[in-house]
Structure formats: C-alpha cells, structure tokens
Amino acid sequence: MDQDVSTGPVADGDVTQLLHQWSDGRDEAFRELLTHAYERLRLMAAAQMRGERPDHTLQATALVGELYLRLAGAKLAGWEDREHFYRFCARAMRWILIDHARARARERRRIELLLPLTEDIRWLGEREQDTFDLDRALSRLEQIDSRKARILELRIYLGCTAEETAGILALSKATVDRDMRLACAWLCRELRPGE
C-alpha cells in the first residue's frame, strides 16, 4: 500500500500559516487550505485505486467533493490550529464513509471500505461490516483512550504517516508508533475476535 502521500502541494508549515491568515480574515487562504486537503485526499484515493479490483467502489472526486462540502463550513467553526483542522478532516471522512456504506447497504450492494489503511492493519476493509464496525470501535476507543483513537482516525481516514500524525498531534514519532501497536491490537481484537 502506498504511503507516499506525505508530500502534498502545500507543506505543513504553510498550512499553519494559511490557518493564521485565514483567521485574520483572508478568504483566499481558506481556499488554499481546502485545496490542500482536497489534493491530499485525491492522492490517497488515487493510491488506493491503483491495482484495485475492477469493481472498486471508490469515486475519488465524489468522496473528495463531499469532504469539501463539509469543510467549507469549517470557517465558521473557528479553526485554531492544525490539529483541529486535520482532526476535523479525519472525522468528516469517517462520516462520509459511513454514509456511503449505508447507502450501498440499502441498495443491497456490497460494501467496501474505501480508503487506504495503514500497513499495520491491512486486513481492515476486507469485510463488509468493517466500515461500520470500525466506526463503532473507534467511538468506544475514544472513551477508553482518546489519544489512540485520534491517531487511528488520522492514519486510517486521512492516511497520515506516523511522522505527520506526530506533527499534527504534537507527539513524538516514537509515541505514535507505540500507541499504534496497542491500538491496532485492540482494533484487531474488536473486529476480528474469532480467528
């Protein structure tokens, strides 16, 4: 699975600056921010689509379009820092997936998890129920250990690398790696109990 999505058209330092500019009232900064997020997701989506089965269900532009929809309102929510922003993106992505999966379930078509997941949990998405189970599991994890839940969210739904995740959440990479180990084990126990 490709993890080369760390380099987007806008470097992370610029994102912070854009955020500041934006909160100063510069609309074009906001647009650029969103463009950046858009690009990121598009790259991720494209990465997932490479070499996939012919009946893949991911419609990259539609997915991204939806995220933009949700993000477009972000201005009003008063973004304060990068972490908030990215976490919002990840959260939005999560809901988009649930939405898509639910729609497909209603149409009695097979549900497939649509985003690339980290190398550490490649099995995620094999089962139809994974989209929903993952969402529920993450909600539970949030109650137990919110930091791990956030890490998983960023890595799974936004495809952030360990380094990026560390940067977003102001943690060290080592902490992120460590947390990931336990979080993935926990997730595996939740979603694949019987094997």
């Binding site: 639910r102 929903f132 336990l182």
Partner: protein
C-alpha cells in the same frame, strides 16, 4: 472490576519487550493479584500477533470475494425475522412476520447488531422508538412494536413499505407535472405532521420516501430524527450531503427550515430529474456551487425537455428556489407554507377554468311560457310531415323539402335552437329540467320527423347535442352528436361536420377528458378551414372560441383567439357570443400571471351579459369561474361573494353532475377549508369524493382535487395527522 487501561498499556508494552518464550510467565508474575489485567493483556497480545498475521496475509486475502451470508431466522418478541433488507447506521433491518402466523402482516424489524451496542447507540435507539411511537400519520411508516430481545438487543418493528422511491415511481409511471406536484404535497403533509409533533426528520430525500403500488406515499427512516427541544443537538450526524442544508453541513442548529430545504431539494429532483448543483466539471466545482448557493433554476437544469421547461419557468422555479435558499431566513418558514404555494400554483392550472363557452347557449333556453308553444309546433310538424309525405323522389320533393326545412327552422328558431338573434333571447332560470324533457322528446322524434332529410337531422342533432351537454347530460349529447356525424358527408358539408366535431370536443372537455377534447377541436378546426368562405360569422366565431383554451401554445392560441374575436365582432359587440371574447382574454391574462389585467376583461364580459334579460346562465358561470380564480390565488375576500352569488343559480339551472355545477360545489368546499372551517367541509367533501367517479368518471382532475382537499379537511379538522 475493569482493569485500569494505563496499567494494561504499560503491561502490554513491557510484555512485548520480553522474549516471546518468557512472556507468559512474566505476565503472570506481574499480574498475580490481578487476573482481569492478565486476561486483558493476554488477549491484546494475542490480538497483536493476529494483527501481524492478518496483515501479512492481507494482500492475497483481499482478492477473495466476500460472500453475503443469509441471515437465519430469529425471534424478537412476537416477531420472526426473514430476509435481510439492509444495514442501517444503528443496526440491521429485516423483513419480519408475526411468529404466531395468525396475521400475515409484513413488517420491517430494525435491530441493534450483535456487537455490543454502545451506550450512545442504545440511547439513540430508545429515542427513535419514542419519537416514532408518537407519530401517527397516513403518510408516515408506523411503528408497530418494539422491545428488547432475549439476547438483550433492542429492536423496533415498523410498517413495511413495499414501494418504489419517489423519483423512481414518478418516472416509472410517467407522471405529469401536476401529478408529481400532488404527490409531493402529500409528502409536505407528512413532514408538517412530524413538525407539529416537534419532530425533525433531518434526512428527507427521495430514498426515504416510498410510494406503494396503489399510489400511497410513505415517509420512512426517522433514524436521524431528533426532537426539536432536545438539549444537546448532535452537530455532525451522518446525513446525505446532496440533500442536507448548508446549516446542517456546517454543524449549526437544525430546525424545521432545514427539513424544508431537504423538501425543496427533493422537489427539485422530482421536477427536473437532477439536483441543483449538478453539472460542474468536477466535484470540486460542484461543491463550490453548493457552498456559494449558486443553484440553477429547475427550468434551466440540464436535461429538461423544452415542454417541461415551459411549465417550470416562472412560478415553479421561484417556489423551488425559495425552498432551497442558502439562508434559512429566506426559505419558506414551514412545510405548510411551501405546500400552500404549490397548491396555489396547481389551482391556477386551467382545469376548472375551461368554462364559460356559452356563445352557443346564449339563445338556447326557452321561457317557461314558450314550452307549450314549442310542443305544439312539434306536434304540428308531425302532422304536417305525415300529411306531406316527404320523399325525395316525389316531383314536389324540392318544394316539400323546402317547406319541411322551413318548418324545421321555425321549430329550431322557436325553441331557441338556432343562432338567429331575431328569435329574441328569452330564457328562464328554472326551466332546465323541463327543457331537458323537451329536448329529449325532440331528439326522440327526430328520426321520424326528419326521415329523408339527413342534413337537417344532422343540423338539429348538433343543436340538440349542444343543449344536452350544457345541461349536463353528456351521454345523450354524445349519442346525438355522433348520430349527426354519421349523417353528414364531411367533404360536401364540412361546416356542419366541423360544428358537430367541435361540440364533441366540448363534450369531452365537460367530462374532464382534455386529451380527447384537444384532438376533437383540432379536427373541427381542420374541417372549418376546409369550408372556408361558407361559414357564417355566428357559427365560426362560436366554434373557434369553443376550441380555444388557455392551454394552447401561445402562437396558435393567440391566432385562434384573434380569429374568434374578428368573427364575433361581425356578429355584434353586444351579442352574448361576443362576451366570450373579453372573458377568454381575461383567462389568458390570469393564466400568464397578470390577474390585475384580467379583472377589467371579466367586467367587460359581465357588462355584455348583464344587458340581457333575464339574466343568462352564462353570467352565473362567469362569476363562478372568476370566483374560483380568486380562490386559487388566495384572495378569499374577493372569491367568496362571487362564488356565493353564482352557486344557487347554477344549482337551479343545471343537472347534478354537470361540469360547472360540480366544480362550483367543490370550489365552495375548498373555500370553506381555506377559511379554516374544516369540520364543516369534511363531510361534504367526503361525499363529493364518492360522487365524482359516479357522475364524472373521466374527470380525473376533479377527483384528484376532491381527494386532496378532503384529506386536508379531515386531517386538520380532526387532528388525525398527528397526536
């Protein structure tokens, strides 16, 4: 007791640092006094190993297809599940039946999945049950049952709606614009009902609106519904972006107008087949449009055919755009006000306003004291005919034919069956019942009296047919008109054929069969053109004005109206035939959205008719139609006196079931409903709904209208839309 997570975490990582062979003993040593912790860490370590294994296998494993396992039948309270219908956000939905097999009622059973439900999930489930239990509306899927299964899973049993999605249903049945709007009104009613119970649906879209085979609309899936007075409003609930309002997407407070927005989007799709922000070159562009609120008007949406575009332009465009205004304050304040505007639009459609085609009838009614004269003449004619022994072979044939023609003319003249104004317009208000007897008698005698005179008979049949249809006996009208057509050679006498065909069109129109009417009128006009030069002004003007209605495309319609006006003017501007002209112009103004320009025309028409004594029935009809137009626009103040004045004289003069009369009766009841007198109107409306199919089987428009208003009256009068 739950082991502390932090402890577990510490142990987990430390355990991993141990060599694998020693891990278990190390763990046992560390958690001697804490078996739960040991178990927890052990299971996590196992999972960790499994995670690696699965991840290693994954690329290959991903290729394998995931089979859809059939769900075994399960028992929930009194219900037994069958086929899986779908998976929702909160759980699965199965088809279900009562386990005891007594009732074969099918239901949809929604259950929390076997995975441990979160406290949040259970709470939402319980809330949905509470919400649904309170909502009883004919167009909302009902909650039948609910509870907790033996295995501890909460479940809901709801009415199973076997139907198509709203947009699919409309397309499958090729519903017209009016029919789609009327269905949509039902949806507005359901949403309004929910709002009255302080419930927001929050996810209205065609997917959640199903229509069954018999045309019943049901709003389903209140899964995202929330009570309006909830203290904590979930801001990021899952919803469908295309139909969600901007404020919902932004996570702001959601109110009834958010549901209105969704209704507007649904309507948009129903009318134009697409969504307002479609057509962007990329999703990015599309999304930008949503955010900027740059909706394309429904009539201008891509893929809308020209005929539909014409229908949508103007009022409907405005209604839809208002419903989906980005700023909540600029939308309709409620589902009801949206529905009202649509109803207003529907009643402006030229259905009941195809009235007032009375150029013919102005001279037709016979005064009470004239009846005796007419009957005696008929008798005389009979005697005469016998005496003269009419045959075409006789040497005197031409003279005798001439005489009998004159007699026929005289009869026609006296009975008021001709166009000749010199007979003196004498009419009565209360004589129609007897008039019908006379006419029936005359119709019966015609074959005898007019033997050997097919054209005469045809001519008389045309007149008689016309009288029948205006009185309300369209069946007799048809018999006579068709018999007349059978007697006429259209090539030799196109004018007469035109007349008969034109009146057939009028008959269809009065029955409510507008498609046939349009066809017949076109044919009549064709025949009229074939007879050019030989048709007198009184005949042509009446035929042309008969054929005209507001539904003609402007270029043809205007030409027709001009032609009718010209010839009617030749008859005379004080003639009742001519009164048709300003009336038609008024209707045209009204239809085009300029009622203020219609009123002076109506008054002109009334002035002409007022000058005729006694008051002609046409005057009543004009007032009634005018009143109905005002009713349609919501000017109840103006509508009431117009309608009240005219209803009694219509009731006196016309047979029950006659078009103008029934429309007037319906309109009167609609007025009551609009004034808020629901209980008073409900019973009569119900009776009308039963009567319409009996008396006017082809009039679908009237039936649909009556049903709609009856339902409205019942719903609002008894509060049966929601508790």
């Amino acid at each position: 007791m739950e082991p502390l997570w932090w402890r577990v975490e510490e142990l987990f990582h430390s355990a991993l640092e141990q060599p694998e062979s020693e891990r278990e003993t190390w763990l046992a040593a560390q958690t001697g006094a804490d078996p739960e912790a040991r178990e927890e860490v052990r299971s996590l370590l196992t999972a960790d190993r499994r995670n690696s294994e699965l991840s290693a296998q994954a690329p290959a494993a991903r290729q394998a297809a995931v089979a859809e396992l059939p769900a075994p039948s399960r028992r929930f309270g009194a219900w037994e599940t069958g086929e899986l219908l779908g998976r929702g956000g909160m759980g699965e939905v199965y088809l279900a039946q009562r386990a005891d097999g007594h009732h074969s009622q099918r239901a949809a059973l929604k259950v929390m999945t076997r995975n441990l439900p979160t406290p949040d999930g259970i709470e939402r489930f319980r809330r949905e049950r509470e919400i649904l239990a309170q909502l009883e509306h004919p167009n909302v899927a009902r909650l039948l049952d609910g509870g907790v299964s033996d295995s501890g899973e909460p479940y809901l049993v709801m009415e199973y709606v076997d139907g198509l999605r709203l947009d699919q249903y409309c397309d499958r049945h090729r519903l017209s614009l009016g029919a789609r709007l009327r269905l949509f009104l039902t949806l507005c009613g359901a949403v309004a009902g929910a709002h009255r119970n302080l419930i927001l649906h929050r996810d209205i879209k065609p997917n959640n609106v199903l229509v069954t085979g018999d045309g019943t609309l049901k709003l389903v899936d209140f899964g995202t519904a929330r009570r309006m007075d909830a203290s904590s409003l979930e801001t990021m609930a899952p919803l469908t972006p295309s139909f969600a309002s901007p404020e919902q997407l932004r996570g702001e407070a959601v109110t009834t107008v958010s549901d209105v927005y969704a209704l507007g989007m649904t309507l948009y799709q129903l009318l134009s087949g697409t969504l307002p922000f479609a057509g962007g070159k990329s999703a990015y562009e599309t999304v930008q449009r949503v955010v900027e609120g740059a909706a394309v008007a429904p009539s201008m949406a891509p893929g809308v055919n020209p005929a539909r575009r014409r229908e949508l332009r103007g009022d409907l465009d405005n209604i839809v755009l208002k419903a989906i205004a980005p700023d909540p304050a600029r939308r309709y304040a409620s589902a009801e006000s949206l529905a009202e505007d649509i109803e207003r639009y529907l009643s402006r459609l030229p259905v009941h306003a195809r009235a007032g085609k009375w150029g013919y009838r102005a001279e037709r009614f016979v005064a009470r004291h004239r009846l005796a004269v007419a009957l005696s003449i008929l008798l005389a004619l009979t005697v005469l005919a016998a005496a003269v022994g009419l045959t075409v072979q006789s040497r005197q044939a031409r003279l005798e034919a001439e005489r009998s023609r004159r007699l026929a003319d005289f009869l026609t003249h006296v009975m008021g069956l001709g166009y000749d104004r010199e007979s003196g317009p004498v009419r009565s208000d209360g004589a129609s019942a007897r008039m019908i007897d006379v006419i029936r008698y005359a119709a019966d005698r015609l074959p005898v009296e007019m033997v050997g005179q097919p054209e005469l008979e045809a001519h008389l049949r045309a007149n008689i047919g016309r009288v029948f249809e205006e009185l309300g006996d369209t069946a007799a009208a048809e018999v006579n008109l068709r018999r007349g057509l059978a007697l006429v050679d259209a090539r030799r006498n196109p004018a007469l054929a035109a007349e008969l065909t034109d009146y057939l069109g009028r008959k269809s129109e009065l029955e409510g069969d507008y498609e046939s009417a349009a066809r017949q009128y076109k044919e009549a006009l064709r025949l009229l053109d074939a007879a050019r030069g030989t048709v007198p002004a009184e005949v042509e003007s009446v035929l042309v004005l008969n054929a005209w209605n507001e539904a003609w495309p402007p270029s043809e319609g205007d030409a027709l109206l001009d032609r009718g006006t010209r010839r009617a003017r030749e008859v005379g501007e004080t003639s009742p035939i001519y009164a048709q002209v300003p009336f038609d112009r008024g209707l045209l103004h009204w239809h085009r959205g300029h009622p203020e320009e219609a009123l002076p025309e109506f008054r002109k028409a009334l002035a002409i008719l007022d000058a005729i004594h006694p008051r002609p029935l046409e005057e009543c009809e004009l007032r009634q139609v005018w009143g109905q137009l005002e009713l349609g626009r919501g000017n109840l103040q103006a509508a009431e006196p117009l309608m009240a004045e005219s209803l009694p004289c219509l009731e006196r003069a016309l047979l029950p079931g006659e078009a103008h009369l029934m429309w007037a009766q319906l309109a009167h009841l609609i007025l009551l409903v609009k004034q808020g007198h629901f209980k008073e109107a409900a019973g009569p409306l119900d009776a009308l709904v039963a009567e319409v199919p009996r008396r006017r089987p082809k009039d679908r428009a009237m039936l649909a209208s009556a049903i709609r208003w009856r339902d409205k009256a019942l719903c609002q009068g008894t509060g049966a839309c929601g508790k």
